[in-house]
């Protein structure tokens, strides 16, 4: 098993790249072949990620030296519990979304869906695995440029409008990323994250200000990706305007920002980082709380189902960020559990909403009345469950997640604020979804007639993909014990950066210069 780990690690980043290029090269004009290759790749990634999670759960941190150049000189991939978990989450999500995309035929609505999708996975996996800060930038760019393509997939004026904004704001974000990375290199002379941790901890007093500044600039970038207020403006429009499948996949995109905050915030700018230690916390906490409220108020004010889904992503990010911002080990495990939950729940909601919108004829996803539509019964059930999952009510994992967070932050100074945020926003969410659901499904049943369902694609498979994601939520809830145990262990690993540093740099820390 562990002998295969290096190969699995390499496969996690190389396979999507090769798949993407191969589809581009040979299957560009063959839809069926592209689909099979894409699905096979997603499935294989799921298996790889599952194997990596199984390995990582043992607690050893694996470091894979690309090009056989040892850290900190070459680039390393690092497998710890957190990165393995993110990999598995990405793969599961991607698999469901790919099934949905194929079932509903959205992949035919524009060019290069499958290569872009594979490259998107490459970017995500690379970002989660890399142990090098500049390489993280590169993979941020890979996943961003792929996301630009996917966001604009199937185009249309609205998509293009928000696309311009999404792209431009992210490009400025990338510039900021480089400012942060560059500054950090300029002061410490290294890029490897473990080595950065060592050097930041040992930095002389006169360098502290520059390190702290770079830390906060980097955190600004990550917060932009995570859509923390006031850097959230790009999200609602972008997510609401893109296709359902892509929006569902994008549920993971904000988590990349959160991941980066967690990773750098515990490893490089963790407890040992001098003046930069947890420097983002006092900013992130109010930002997270504000984001949660903005998200749920936006959800409440939304005029369409898609935009509800988009705002709900924002709301859940707020809750997550507020919990992360406490930077306490007992809140981090719950946060990681919540990452799993909110990603899958957000994606499920997007898919369900998309299914509804494509069946409601001209009314689409607008919060208006429409006559009875195809599969309304099962979709009302799915919508109910997706709403329950999104708001965080039992029996799905959102409730457990919120309980975990409430319990985890209780010793934090800001506990009362976070508690109030979680509880009040949940109530707003209840109200919003109850209004929307009762309008779309209950009140609409007073209308006569039925919407004809011509050329409806993916009747069974599309619904199954959405239902599958909801089943994942139930599973997360049911398997709460092992999952939280894993998440807590991952958190413990994060708050003991020595393990990571030792795994990456060996015992030769600092001896090589």
């Amino acid at each position: 098993m562990s002998a295969a780990v290096p190969y699995l690690l390499a496969a996690a980043v190389v396979m999507p790249a090769v798949m993407g290029a191969a589809i581009l090269l040979t299957l560009r004009h063959r839809l069926r072949g592209s689909r099979l290759a894409s699905l096979a790749s997603c499935l294989a990634l799921t298996a790889i990620a599952a194997a990596l999670v199984a390995h990582a759960s043992g607690g050893t941190i694996e470091s894979y030296a690309l090009g056989d150049w040892r850290a900190p000189f070459g680039i390393v991939l690092v497998l710890d519990r957190l990165s393995a978990m993110m990999l598995l989450l990405t793969a599961v999500l991607a698999f469901a979304v790919m099934i949905y995309a194929v079932a509903t035929g959205i992949d035919r609505k524009g060019w290069h869906f499958h290569p872009l999708f594979q490259f998107q996975l490459l970017g995500l996996n690379g970002a989660f695995l890399t142990g090098d800060l500049f390489n993280l930038f590169v993979f941020f760019e890979v996943l961003l440029i792929a996301s630009y393509g996917l966001l604009l997939h199937a185009q249309g004026a609205e998509r293009l409008k928000v696309g311009v904004q999404y792209v431009v704001i992210n490009l400025v974000g990338s510039t900021l990323f480089l400012v942060g990375v560059g500054l950090l290199y300029g002061v410490t002379g290294t890029l490897n994250m473990a080595d950065l941790a060592v050097r930041v901890a040992a930095a002389p007093a006169g360098d502290q200000s520059l390190i702290a500044a770079s830390a906060l600039v980097l955190m600004t970038v990550f917060a932009l990706k995570a859509a923390a207020a006031p850097l959230h403006f790009w999200l609602p429009g972008a997510y609401a305007a893109t296709t359902g499948a892509v929006a569902a996949l994008f549920a993971i995109m904000t988590k990349v920002g959160a991941y980066a905050i967690i990773r750098t915030g515990t490893l490089i700018f963790g407890a040992d980082a001098g003046a930069a230690a947890f420097g983002v916390a006092p900013w992130l906490l109010p930002a997270g709380i504000a984001t949660a409220f903005i998200g749920f108020i936006g959800l409440f004010a939304a005029r369409s189902l898609r935009s509800m889904a988009a705002w709900s992503v924002l709301g859940s990010m707020g809750v997550l960020l507020a919990a992360v911002a406490t930077f306490r080990v007992e809140a981090m495990g719950p946060s990681l559990y919540y990452v799993l939950h909110s990603t899958l729940a957000g994606a499920a909601l997007f898919l369900v909403v998309d299914l509804i919108a494509t069946r409601r004829g001209e009314q689409g996803d607008a919060l208006t009345l429409a006559p009875r539509f195809c599969q309304a019964g099962i979709l009302s059930g799915l919508f109910f469950l997706a709403a329950v999952g999104t708001i965080g009510l039992p029996p799905l994992s959102g409730f457990i997640g919120k309980l975990l967070i409430l319990d985890g932050v209780r010793a934090a100074p800001a506990a009362a604020w976070i508690w109030a945020t979680v509880l009040v926003t949940t109530l707003i969410g209840v109200l919003a979804f109850a209004r929307a659901g009762s309008l779309i499904f209950w009140k609409s049943s007073t209308l006569e007639g039925e919407i004809p369902t011509r050329a409806l694609r993916g009747r069974v498979m599309g619904v199954s993909a959405a239902a599958g994601l909801l089943a994942c939520l139930a599973l997360l809830s049911l398997l709460g014990g092992p999952v939280t145990a894993y998440a807590d262990a991952a958190a413990a690993q994060l708050f003991d950066p020595g393990q990571y540093i030792a795994a990456v740099l060996g015992d030769k820390t600092g001896a090589l210069r």
């Binding site: 560009r28 004009h29 063959r30 839809l31 592209s34 992949d107 035919r108 524009g110 060019w111 869906f113």
Partner: protein, 145 residues
């Protein structure tokens, strides 16, 4: 490096530098674009050529490798400078002829001689391009459109 070579290199450098400055001085001071074109196309090109030849002589003379690749840049410049000038002149001709950014010093709108045999100049024959539209080339996206 012998003194003679040093003198030669120095001379070429001074000459090159001087021509470069003169070329740009012409660009700065001459009264209209057509006259300004004369400075850079010739003086500057030659000036750069002087510097390049200086370099070409200098490296072998100081014990460096045999070096003639500066010649390449010189050839390249000699090849492209007239084309660049020609393109700038053409665009100027075109725009002045149509009264865009009018700058009468070159007498293009008023004093341009006709081509022999009643033909027009390729760039400018008093009329804008108002050709009739031809059908756009069609390309269908294959398979996944």
């Amino acid at each position: 490096m012998t003194f003679a070579v040093e003198i030669l290199v120095a001379f070429l450098l001074v000459l090159g530098g001087a021509f470069i400055l003169i070329g740009s001085w012409g660009l700065a001071r001459l009264p209209s674009l057509m006259t300004r074109l004369h400075g850079p196309t010739k003086a500057t090109t030659l000036g750069v050529g002087g510097c390049l030849i200086a370099s070409m002589i200098y490296f072998p003379a100081t014990g460096g490798a045999w070096s003639a690749h500066e010649l390449l840049i010189t050839i390249f410049l000699l090849l492209t400078a007239p084309i660049s000038a020609n393109m700038i002149a053409k665009s100027h001709l075109h725009r002045q002829g149509h009264g865009i950014d009018p700058n009468p010093a070159d007498g293009i709108a008023t004093g341009l001689p006709p081509a022999p045999g009643g033909a027009d100049w390729a760039t400018f024959h008093g009329a804008a391009d108002d050709e009739a539209p031809l059908p756009a080339p069609a390309r269908r996206p294959p398979g996944q459109g």
